[in-house]
């Protein structure tokens, strides 16, 4: 399974649409796309995970890295439309309490 990444840049806001699986193989691709976006001061980076059916802890590591950078560069990271299974990972790790996560949805891709 692959990961598709599509970035939609607006004024002071970048939306990154992700689709597929985020794991040890696809995480470097996500890292490369997501991290530079967090380095713009006062921008909002919204990651849409609606079509992410699976994520492992390596994927979580990329979002932690992005969160650290957004604090350093004063940008805002927001995650939206997480599937249940993916959201559970943020919940177990306690990250849902320090990350801006909006609206979770039920598992659609299984």
């Amino acid at each position: 399974m692959n990961l598709q990444i599509q970035i939609n840049e607006q004024e002071n806001k970048s939306i990154i649409h992700l689709s597929g699986e985020i794991d040890v193989y696809t995480a470097p691709k996500l890292k490369e796309a997501l991290l530079p976006l967090t380095k713009e001061k006062d921008t909002i980076i919204e990651a849409n995970l609606e079509h992410v059916s699976y994520m492992d802890s390596t994927g979580l590591g990329v979002f932690i890295n992005a969160l650290k950078l957004s604090k350093e560069y004063e940008s805002k990271l927001r995650l939206v439309n997480l599937q249940e299974r993916v959201f559970r990972l943020f919940q177990i790790t306690g990250l849902h309490e320090i990350m801006d996560i909006h609206s979770t949805i039920r598992g659609v891709d299984g």
Binding site: G61, I64, N65, G94, I98
Partner: protein, 336 residues
């Protein structure tokens, strides 16, 4: 005559025989000789050259134009020869890396203690199996003078060698804490500061840290974002999830943790694990967490070490002996 000349002789004889008789056996001989060529690192252009020499020997009157065309072929093979040499070098390098990883894996095994302390009232069993050579899971058991026991189970995120290197950091940090007098939440908070300062920003560690104190009969625990384990309550003959909130280690230097407690009585069990256990896949389907409990239930009459071994064997078979993630399972059984 060295082997090269011997091969050349054989080649010429085989070619001569085949051209004359078209005998299949000569073709088989050619197949065999090509294997020796590969073994002795004979390059493709050398074989073409050998062919030219053989032709000239068999047909001294070989047509000029055919001879030139063979020289042309020889030139065309040179890049293949170079590619082959490169392949040989890569193979050697790969072998070197493999043996280096092997040494690192052996060192890591030494960090992971294998002798589990014996306790009077707790029967403890642990199994930890890496998916690849290096293990990203860590466990640590310390027995206190008062008969207490401290156990840590951790999952280091970031696979392979970097994860294995972080393991030594955790081990030495834990070894430096006076664990028996520190509360579980204080241990995680201290460890978090060490980890946060010392790892790559995309790495983190999840850890479950617990202590059992025989004088109170209680089990104290804290979690740093670790996959929740289970309690088995013998009175109700039921399992419940161990609920404990807490952020993973290495994200925020000021994170604080909570300490929880649970009274345990004879027959109760504490099941600690990493996500390599709950994320087993059956084909493309993930197993449910309940399935792990069903399997544990099947073996729970056995001693703790036997339970974890049997559960591991069950999931190893289920996944056709191909672990996707490191697998660590610990069971503490209150026996007195």
């Amino acid at each position: 005559m060295d082997t090269k000349d011997l091969d050349a002789r054989n080649y010429t004889e085989l070619l001569k025989g085949y051209v004359k008789t078209r005998d299949e056996r000569a073709l088989y001989g050619a197949e065999q000789i090509s294997k020796t060529f590969i073994k002795n690192n004979i390059l493709p252009e050398e074989i073409v050259n050998l062919h030219i020499q053989a032709l000239l020997e068999i047909y001294p009157e070989l047509h000029d134009k055919i001879q030139s065309s063979m020289n042309f072929l020889l030139e065309a093979m040179i890049s293949y020869g170079l590619a082959h040499q490169e392949y040989q070098i890569l193979r050697e390098k790969q072998f070197e890396i493999k043996s280096e990883i092997h040494v690192a894996a052996r060192m890591q095994k030494m960090l992971l203690q294998s002798n589990i302390p014996k306790l009077e009232d707790i029967d403890l069993g642990i199994i930890s199996v890496p998916a690849n050579q290096m293990n990203g899971d860590y466990h640590h058991v310390v027995k206190g003078k008062d008969g207490s026991i401290s156990i840590a189970i951790a999952d280091i995120i970031g696979k392979g060698i970097p994860a294995a290197l972080s393991m030594s950091m955790i081990k030495y940090a834990l070894d430096s804490f006076p664990e028996n007098i520190m509360s579980t939440d204080a241990i995680l908070a201290s460890l978090n500061r060490v980890v946060e300062r010392n790892i790559d920003p995309s790495m983190f560690i999840t850890m479950f840290y617990a202590q059992y104190k025989p004088d109170t009969g209680k089990f104290y625990y804290s979690s740093a974002g670790h996959e929740p384990g289970f309690f088995y309550h013998s009175k109700e003959n039921s399992f419940t999830e161990i609920e404990a909130k807490g952020l993973v280690l290495g994200v925020n230097p000021d994170t604080t943790y909570l300490q929880y407690e649970q009274e345990i009585v004879k027959g109760d069990m504490i099941i600690l694990l990493t996500d390599g256990v709950t994320e087993c896949r059956k084909g493309e389907q993930f197993i449910e967490r309940e399935e792990v409990l069903e399997v544990i239930r099947t073996f729970m009459h056995l001693p703790a070490q036997e339970i974890v071994n049997q559960v591991y064997r069950y999931f190893e078979r289920l996944q056709n002996f191909q672990l996707r993630d490191d697998f660590t399972l610990a069971i503490l059984k209150k026996v007195v």
